[in-house]
Structure formats: structure tokens, C-alpha cells
């Protein structure tokens, strides 16, 4: 019988299994011992593994990340739980200039896992920066963005066995999402996109929270005779361009859906990669669906105005199939 867990619980289970198997793994973060983190993502692990391996830290993002980098190169496998990804701003040098550079500059690998909550939800502009592309762009970092509980568990287990830094990004809006998860030996490797739904008329590329919206759109499209292939990137670095390109060569049409602002980022990279490797197969320009180029508002009324939604995705796919 498969186990059903929430997205947050799947993380906890994956981490707990790996911690039990490897005593070098430990966790640092604000308010994780009792609360288990803002999304209860490590709830109970404080009790299970004790105060040495599950540590509350001061609100010192630079120092907690430095503690991660330094301990990672001296035999440990730290998890730094940043809480919101926005707080990476306080330790950006540790992530980008230290952790990301040591392997190249020094030949010293840094098995540091940084967990953070990303994506757009309530809370206002300062807690909803969509910056995962920054880390994917910066050489030296892996970036993982699971869209469901099974992927969370399979990917966190793989991530905790990587020897290079990994940013493990969990979307705010998914924390309560329930689903089956794999067993202790079910690992999902980084760098392999998932074809969440097969189809031959149009390729929809996305990750994280938008996977469900794209699948919803795909169902409605199917009811109208349009078969969309939905690709969940799973990891932004390594980026599985092959799966994307292969799909587009088959469908000839592509849509990229992303919460980021309408400039650059992962979606632009996908568009650029598609047209580089599948130009002759394209029947029409690749379509991007993103948020506008503006900070994120707090009011739910405004949030719903800026976020990609399944109706918009459906309409874009329909139009794409009609014109080309």
C-alpha cells in the first residue's frame, strides 16, 4: 500500500531517512526544533535526532550559510534551512561566492543542501521574490524545484547524496498538497524532467506550482481534442533540455509557464534552448506565460490578477494550435 503524505511531510520523511542512514547530515535553521520550520517541514526531527543534529540558529543568514559551507568542507553534510528564499539575500555571498565557487577554484566539493520556501503566495513583495533562476544561472549550484510529494521525497534523497551545493526549493502554495510517495530506495535523480502528461499537439514546459495548473489546462484541452504534453522540469539545474527539445520536435509548438516576472529567468532559457535545438520543427513562436514585471502584491485580489492560471494556459494553447 502506497504512503500518502503532504508535500511538507514528504520532505520530512526523505530527510529523516537520509539522516538515519548518514550521521553526517544535520540541519540548521531558525525555529526548526519545536516548530519544525514555518511549514512544519522538519516537524518532529528535533526530537528524533536531538539538539546537535537539528539546530535552531540565530537570525544570521550569512553565518548560518557560512556554518554550512565550512562544515560541509570538513566532513559534514549540512542542511541549511533558510525558511523563505528571500532570506538568501542576507547570505548571498556565502551561497554564490563561497559554496558555488570552491569546487572550481579549489577542487573542494561542498555537499551543502540549502532548503528554502519559494514561489508566490500571501505575504507581500518582500517574501515573494521569484529568484530561483538566479541560482540556476550562477555556475556552481544545483537547483531543485519539486511539484508534488513523490518528487519531493525522491529528489531530497538524491540531493542529500550530492557532493555539490543544492538549493532545494519548495513552493509555499504546495506545502499541504497530498500524494503518494516512494519508499526508502526510491530516488529521483537530478537533471531528469518528468513528462507529467503525454501529448502530441503542444508542449507545455513548467515546474513547481504551475505543473498542476498546466495539467488542469491539458485536461480541458483534451476535452476539446487537443493533446498537450506537460513537462515538469523538476530541477532547474541541471536542466533537462533533451526531454524538452524532443517533445517540441514532436509537437512543433511550445508554451513555457513560469511565475517569474516577464524578463529572463528560467522561462527565457527554455525558450532560447528550444529555438536553438528545435528551430526547424517549430510551427510558431514559443509562448511565455509569466507574471508581469512588477513586485508581488499582498491582496488576494491582486495576486490572482498576476499569476498564470489554467484558463490562460488553455487559451494560449488553443490559440497556438489554431494559428500554427
Amino acid at each position: 500500500m502506497p504512503t500518502v503524505l503532504t508535500y511538507s511531510q514528504a520532505y520530512r520523511e526523505g530527510v529523516a531517512e537520509e539522516m538515519a542512514a548518514n550521521e553526517k547530515i544535520f540541519i540548521m535553521g531558525t525555529d526548526i526544533v519545536l516548530r519544525g520550520g514555518h511549514f512544519a517541514q522538519v516537524f518532529g526531527l528535533g526530537e528524533q535526532f536531538g539538539a546537535s543534529r537539528v539546530r535552531d540558529v540565530p537570525i544570521s543568514e550569512a553565518a548560518m550559510l557560512a556554518a554550512g559551507v565550512g562544515s560541509a568542507v570538513c566532513g559534514m553534510r549540512p542542511i541549511v534551512d533558510l525558511n523563505f528564499l528571500d532570506f538568501s539575500f542576507g547570505g548571498m555571498d556565502e551561497i554564490c561566492n563561497q559554496a558555488a565557487k570552491m569546487s572550481y577554484m579549489f577542487g573542494i566539493q561542498v555537499p551543502l543542501l540549502i532548503r528554502a520556501t519559494n514561489g508566490i503566495a500571501l505575504g507581500g513583495a518582500q517574501h515573494n521574490n521569484v529568484i530561483e533562476s538566479w541560482f540556476a544561472e550562477l555556475p556552481g549550484l544545483n537547483v531543485v524545484t519539486p511539484s508534488n510529494p513523490a518528487d519531493v521525497k525522491g529528489l531530497i534523497k538524491s540531493s542529500l547524496r550530492m557532493n555539490d551545493p543544492v538549493l532545494f526549493l519548495m513552493h509555499k502554495a504546495l506545502s499541504g498538497l497530498r500524494g503518494n510517495v516512494g519508499g526508502p530506495d526510491d530516488l529521483i535523480p537530478l537533471g531528469h524532467a518528468n513528462i507529467s502528461r503525454a501529448g502530441h499537439d503542444v508542449t507545455i514546459v513548467t515546474y513547481g506550482v504551475n505543473v498542476a495548473k498546466c495539467l488542469e489546462a491539458a485536461e480541458r484541452l483534451a476535452a476539446n481534442g487537443i493533446e498537450a504534453e506537460v513537462i515538469d522540469l523538476r530541477t532547474l539545474y541541471p536542466l533537462d533540455r533533451d526531454t524538452v527539445v524532443e517533445s517540441v520536435r514532436k509537437t512543433g509548438r511550445a508554451i513555457v509557464v513560469d511565475e517569474s516576472a516577464a524578463y529572463g529567468g528560467v522561462s527565457a532559457e527554455i525558450v532560447a534552448s528550444i529555438q536553438e535545438a528545435a528551430f526547424d520543427y517549430l510551427d510558431a513562436a514559443v509562448v511565455r506565460i509569466t507574471a508581469p514585471h512588477a513586485p508581488v502584491p499582498n491582496s488576494p485580489a491582486l495576486l490572482s490578477a498576476i499569476l498564470p492560471n489554467s484558463a490562460g494556459i488553455e487559451a494560449a494553447a488553443r490559440k497556438l494550435v489554431e494559428v500554427a
Binding site: T30, D56, P297, A305
Partner: protein, 339 residues
């Protein structure tokens, strides 16, 4: 603006430092009661789904906000934290318009763009609450630099918490204010906890004020539950700053009665601890008692203040509830707009 807003009293700053007159103290008491009512209602409204995303309640810390901000003038700048309803209301922001912002409505301070951690009123020199620990102090420091460069007789007040005192940027700002002798008042609201983490687990050294002293600026520790003490400390700091004496660091020892945020389970502290702070050190109860003892207040007057607070908050809620939702158009503008 509703007439029941906690108007910032610029006349107060000119009053004698040591003994605020009865009518001033009554205003403070009413203001603290209003903040408390506002916060308890906000918790209720968060649970009720009226305030999307919830709030960080300042209940218990009213004395710090009123004590410090009543020592300021309208021109003085205040910059807050994630827990800043008390600062905002003390600075005179409209109850109605703040509540509408918390509701995410069109009549809110920022038409719903901001929310609880992003309250602002430029005309009242409240430069914003702030979602990022330590950030508000930096903005106040920068504001004080502008005041110094423009030779304005104003000060800037930046708040942060005991948790914020472990964030490096806080000390960078303190150092910069000290070397440039900026008219900054840095107020650390030490409520002992950062979320679930007690200060004893996150902070080395004897005290936050002791740490600050190493940065070369006058440092005072004050009972944050004694609104008059906070007022006097801030008043003195303001006078020194205006006279060119530079910044002051104030550690205000206070306590939050509610959880960190709405829904916080609070398994990190004993119920007794909260009850004790409420019973023994409550800033409202203490001012009330003091005024009764000094024959500055009678029970009827106090009841009147309570009723006024309740009515003002009820009025704000009604206003917010009647306010329309914002339309998306505004959120769809690109930024910067470059106009």
C-alpha cells in the same frame, strides 16, 4: 481619516521631560488601549479569514511604541519591523486605512499591495513596517543621514527585535550612525523571543545593550513596560541627537502576549510566563494604576477610554469590510515605471 485615529502629538515633545501632564498621559493610555484592541481584533479577524496571511500581534508591547513615538514630532521618521502595527498606529496612521490594508482592500494604505508587514504613510513620516528582520533600522539610519546632511532638526527612529540583534546588518548600521554621529535612535524591542527561540539560545554576551556599547554610542536599557520610562529615554536621545550628539541605542525590555504570528502553537514557553507578564508588568495596567494613584484618572474615565478604543476599532473594521477589493490593473503595471 477617522477622527479616532491616534494622532501623533507634536506638542508632547515640547512638554517637560519628567512629568507629562494628566491629559497627555490620558491620551497615551487611550492610545495603548486602542492598539491593544486593534491587535486582539486583528487576531480574531485573521482566524476568521478576514485578514489574509495574518499578522504579528504587538499586544504587550504598546508601551514601547507609545512611549517612544510620543517623544517625537511629526517630522521625525519612524521605520519599523514585521511587528509594527503599534508603531504605525502610534505614529498616527489611520485605523481605518490600516485595517483596510490588512484586509487587502482598495482603500488600504497601499490599495492592498502592501499588507501587514508593509504599512506606510509618507505624510506622517512612517517609512514603513518591514518584512525583513533588521532592514527597518537601516532605512532609519539612512533617513537620519539625510536629516543631518540637510541640517534638519529631526531624528529617525528604527526598531528591531532581540532576534534582529543577531543580524549583522544591524551592527553595520549602528556603527555607521556612530561614526557619523547621525540623529538616529535605535530601539531594540527585546521581547525575549524570536519566534520560538529564546534569546539565551541565540545570543552570546551579557545583554543586547552591552553588545551595543562596544559600538561607541550612548546605550540605555529601559523597562519597556513602563511607558513613561520609554518616553523619557527617547526624549533624552532625541535631545542629544538634535544637539548634534549623535545616535542612541535603547534596549526596551518588553514582552509579546500573543504567539509570533497568528496560529503559533507556543510550545516554547510556559503559559505561566505569559500570565505573569500580563499580571505584573502590563504597560496599560501600570499606567492606569499610577494615574489612579496620582488622582489623574478615575474608573469612569478609564471606561470611557476603553469604550472609545472599542468603537474606533469597530469603526475601522466596518470601514475595511465595506471597502472594495482592488482590481488587478494596478498590479499589472511594470516597475520601475520610469515616469
Amino acid at each position: 481619516m477617522s477622527t479616532s485615529d491616534l494622532a501623533e502629538e507634536s506638542s508632547v515633545a515640547a512638554a517637560p521631560a519628567m512629568a507629562p501632564p494628566p491629559e497627555v498621559l490620558r491620551e497615551w493610555l487611550g492610545a495603548m488601549l486602542t492598539i491593544r484592541r486593534f491587535e486582539t481584533e486583528c487576531v480574531r479577524l485573521s482566524f476568521a479569514g478576514k485578514i489574509p496571511g495574518g499578522i504579528h500581534s504587538s499586544e504587550g508591547q504598546e508601551g514601547v511604541a507609545i512611549g517612544s513615538i510620543r517623544a517625537l514630532t511629526r517630522d521625525d521618521v519612524v521605520s519599523g519591523t514585521h511587528r509594527s502595527h503599534h508603531h504605525a498606529l502610534a505614529k498616527g496612521l489611520s485605523l481605518r486605512i490600516v485595517m483596510a490594508e490588512l484586509f487587502g482592500r482598495d482603500d488600504g494604505l497601499s490599495g492592498g499591495r502592501g499588507g501587514s508587514m508593509h504599512l506606510v504613510d509618507r505624510s506622517l513620516n512612517f517609512l514603513g513596517s518591514n518584512g525583513i528582520v533588521g532592514a527597518g533600522l537601516g532605512i532609519a539610519m539612512g533617513a537620519s543621514l539625510a536629516m543631518q546632511m540637510q541640517a534638519q532638526p529631526f531624528v529617525a527612529v528604527g526598531y528591531f527585535g532581540d532576534g534582529g540583534a543577531n543580524n549583522g546588518r544591524v551592527w553595520e548600521s549602528i556603527n555607521m550612525a556612530a561614526i557619523w554621529k547621525l540623529p538616529l535612535i535605535a530601539i531594540c524591542e527585546n521581547n525575549l523571543y524570536a519566534v520560538e527561540t529564546h534569546i539565551s539560545n541565540s545570543m552570546a554576551g551579557d545583554s543586547i545593550a552591552g553588545r551595543a556599547a562596544g559600538f561607541g554610542l550612548p546605550t540605555v536599557t529601559v523597562d519597556g513596560q513602563d511607558v513613561i520610562a520609554v518616553y523619557q529615554a527617547t526624549r533624552a536621545a532625541r535631545e542629544r541627537a538634535i544637539a548634534g550628539g549623535g545616535p542612541t541605542f535603547i534596549e526596551a525590555q518588553t514582552y509579546r502576549y500573543e504567539g509570533h504570528n497568528v496560529g503559533d502553537v507556543q510550545n516554547y514557553r510556559e503559559k505561566d510566563e505569559v500570565a505573569q507578564w500580563r499580571a505584573e508588568r502590563d504597560p496599560i495596567a501600570r499606567l492606569r494604576q499610577r494615574m489612579i494613584d496620582d488622582a489623574m484618572l478615575d474608573d469612569a474615565q478609564y471606561a470611557g477610554l476603553e469604550t472609545a478604543a472599542e468603537e474606533a476599532v469597530a469603526d475601522a473594521i466596518a470601514y475595511a469590510d465595506a471597502s472594495p477589493w482592488p482590481t488587478g490593473a494596478d498590479a499589472l503595471t511594470t516597475y520601475p515605471t520610469n515616469v
